[in-house]
């Protein structure tokens, strides 16, 4: 049952996008989990970079000037002051530039998003405009950082003993309104996505696997090992549908011997053959090729068989 519910969950996130040429493209909305994961990853990268940069700057400041690193002092030297400015400006650039520059690039994704195989796309199916990227990133602050800082400050105030009153509730409401926003719409949009007209979708990069029907017993229908010839009748091929075919395809590609022999035994039982041993792969290849040939022939006549139950 678990695999069936997993398929349902996938379908819920599937959308069809019609391009200007009229081609329907299937896309999958990124799951909430991968969104959160990407965000955390980006934070770690960003914060580590900022800390490293700060350390570098103070190292330079400490090494070059005996006076140390003081911003407020009245008689700071020009070089120290330059470093302090660099620090403030670089913080700003890192903070906003990290997301902006990467999402404006051809991959439409930050490092975190790339690691999780997701990217930003325009909701309407058109071109992803730079303005949209800017809008969705400007809103991140109000969705996340300001309420988090607000919450943190009120919590600290509470711990110290200052009564923050209703502030803590205000902070909590602010935080949760935006944090829970993606959980209350089916396209998993955060507030910034709504404003920008974007959504985040999965960006799979699948490699083309070898064609199965050019190799082994799929071609001649006979085994290279034993020379046995496998020929299945219409009745025997009618027990399975597309779902089983594609499961078998996956098994053949992954090619684990003991798993294959289990499948072999199951199929033989189902079609009433006597399962032998030692030639499972050839049997399965032949069965796969003939089942697929039959199902594809039916398909051309508009007859489809989704699985063994239909």
């Amino acid at each position: 049952m678990s695999s069936a519910t997993a398929i349902n969950k996938m379908d819920k996130r599937k959308r069809t996008l019609v391009t200007p040429e009229g081609i329907a493209i299937l896309i999958t909305i990124a799951s909430r989990g991968s969104r959160i994961g990407a965000l955390l990853l980006d934070f770690v990268i960003l914060i580590v970079t900022i800390i490293l940069f700060q350390m570098l700057i103070s190292l330079v400041a400490d090494g070059l000037f005996d006076e140390g690193f003081e911003i407020d002092g009245d008689n700071v030297s020009g070089a120290t002051e330059f470093l302090a400015i660099m620090q403030i400006i670089m913080m700003f650039i890192f903070w906003y530039g990290y997301f902006l520059v990467q999402e404006l690039g051809p991959r439409g994704a930050t490092l975190g998003k790339r690691a999780l195989g997701i990217r930003v796309a325009a909701r309407a199916g058109g071109r992803l405009a730079p303005e949209a990227i800017i809008a969705r990133n400007l809103l991140r602050d109000i969705e996340l950082f300001y309420p988090m800082i607000f919450l943190f400050v009120t919590l600290i105030a509470n711990i110290i003993g200052e009564s923050a009153g209703g502030m803590i509730w205000a902070a909590l409401i602010w935080f949760f309104v935006f944090a829970l926003f993606p959980f209350f719409n089916k396209d998993v949009m955060r507030a910034g996505d709504v404003i920008a007209g974007t959504w985040v979708v999965e960006a799979p990069r699948t490699k083309l696997a070898d064609a199965l029907s050019t190799q082994g017993a799929a071609v001649q229908g006979s085994s290279e090992v034993t020379g046995a010839r496998y020929q299945f009748g219409d009745k025997e091929l009618a027990v399975y549908g597309e779902h089983e075919l594609q499961t078998l395809e996956r098994m053949l590609r992954e090619a684990q011997t003991d798993a294959l022999s289990a499948v072999h035994a199951t199929i033989c039982r189902k079609i009433g053959w006597d399962p032998g041993a030692g030639d499972e792969r050839a049997f399965l290849e032949a069965f796969y090729a003939q089942l697929r040939a039959k199902l594809e022939d039916d398909m051309r006549f508009g007859k489809r068989k989704a699985d063994k139950f239909s």
């Binding site: 299937l26 700071v76 071109r127 809008a135 007209g197 990069r205 699948t206 064609a211 050019t214 398909m299």
Partner: protein
């Protein structure tokens, strides 16, 4: 084959999948083997485009891209109807999607976008939200008047409006000399540029807040504007009491004309989003939000630039230039410049921009 960087890809294919198409037992596999070369060529182009190296792609490949993309897309729709090979189908789905993202990806990089933004895009966006600018201006003026009246009525209000840290010696009851001293020029220039950088990052933060709060139908943006301007109104009253209104206005105008203009635009941008979500007109709420959001984002990038200018003005000329007249001159010049840039600067739209807005 064509792209040397993908030699390994093609090399492997040439060995493992000989062009012996007839050897395939299934019609759908023959279909696939016949077109596989084109798919892989498209994949190669897409990979180099994703890496950002348009220059590394052969002209020939780049010219073939639209054709290759359409071939792959039509292969996909045929395969969906005739093939049950799950791996080929998912490969084609992902290939067509990736190619589509590249064919319809952001056409310009950041820098060419920025050039268009400076030469026309920015002022056009500001003009497009003129109604919100007017509303925000009205609210700001009203806020300043309210602040003035409240403080004039009872000086207690001053302490409620102005945070203690900001007020410093500028409190009701301060003598004329004390107040005059706060308007004086700095004696040395040490630390001023740090001050400028700090001011910028602080003010830009406030502006982004004013913009982002527009999401809640613009009400918090307006409240932020009212609060800031009430503070200013109270301050104005304070200086007017001791007859320093002109001096204070001059001191403020140096950076204030730019900074307040920036805050005005940020508030207007936020309000624009809020207003279009509350009254979406013929569009759906989501469409209206995204159209206005993109327009406002352009204005906001401009606001950040204005904040850089304002911070530089605040840190240097304001602290270094004395005399009301020269201060007014600097402030007035910047105000004239911004007004002229936004409302008198009508550059012709570039062809590429027109094509894009029509899409």
């Amino acid at each position: 084959m064509k792209t040397p960087s993908l030699g390994s890809w093609f090399g492997r294919t040439e060995i493992s999948a000989p062009t012996d198409i007839e050897s395939a037992a299934l019609r759908s596999d023959r279909f696939r083997l016949e077109r596989e070369g084109d798919w892989r060529r498209l994949e190669g182009v897409v990979i180099s485009m994703e890496k950002g190296g348009l220059r590394r792609i052969d002209d020939e490949d780049l010219l073939a891209l639209p054709t290759l993309y359409r071939t792959a897309a039509s292969s996909l729709s045929v395969a969906r109807e005739t093939s049950l090979d799950a791996s080929t189908l998912s490969y084609l789905e992902s290939l067509v999607q990736r190619a589509w993202f590249q064919v319809y990806g952001p056409r310009k990089g950041f820098f060419s976008w920025f050039r268009e933004f400076i030469f026309g895009g920015w002022s056009r966006a500001v003009r497009e939200i003129w109604l919100d600018v007017c509303i925000a201006l009205f609210v700001m003026v009203a806020g300043a008047v309210v602040g003035w009246l409240l403080v004039a009525q009872s000086t207690d209000w001053f302490y409620r409006l102005v945070p203690v840290g900001l007020a410093d010696t500028r409190v009701p009851g301060a003598s004329r000399e004390e107040l005059l001293a706060t308007l004086d020029v700095e004696q040395n220039t040490g630390g001023l540029s740090t001050f400028a950088a700090y001011l910028f990052s602080n003010n830009a933060g406030v502006c982004i807040l004013a913009f982002a709060l527009g999401f809640a139908f613009g009400v918090p943006s307006l409240m932020l504007l009212v609060h800031n301007m009430a503070m200013l109104g109270g301050m104005l009253w304070l200086f007017a009491e001791v007859g320093l209104l002109t001096e204070f206005a001059a001191w403020l105008s140096v950076h204030g004309t730019t900074e307040l203009f920036g805050i005005l635009l940020a508030g207007a941008a936020g309000l624009h989003i809020g207003r279009s979500m509350a009254f979406p007109g013929e569009n759906t709420v989501l469409e209206a939000a995204s159209i206005s959001g993109r327009r406002s984002a352009v204005v906001m990038i401009g606001v950040v630039i204005m904040m850089i200018v304002a911070a530089l003005l605040e840190a240097f000329p304001r602290q270094l230039v004395a005399g009301s007249q020269s201060r007014f001159l600097i402030g007035g010049m910047f105000l004239t410049f911004w007004l002229a840039y936004f409302f008198l600067y009508f550059p012709r739209r570039l062809d590429s921009e027109i094509a894009e807005s029509e899409e």
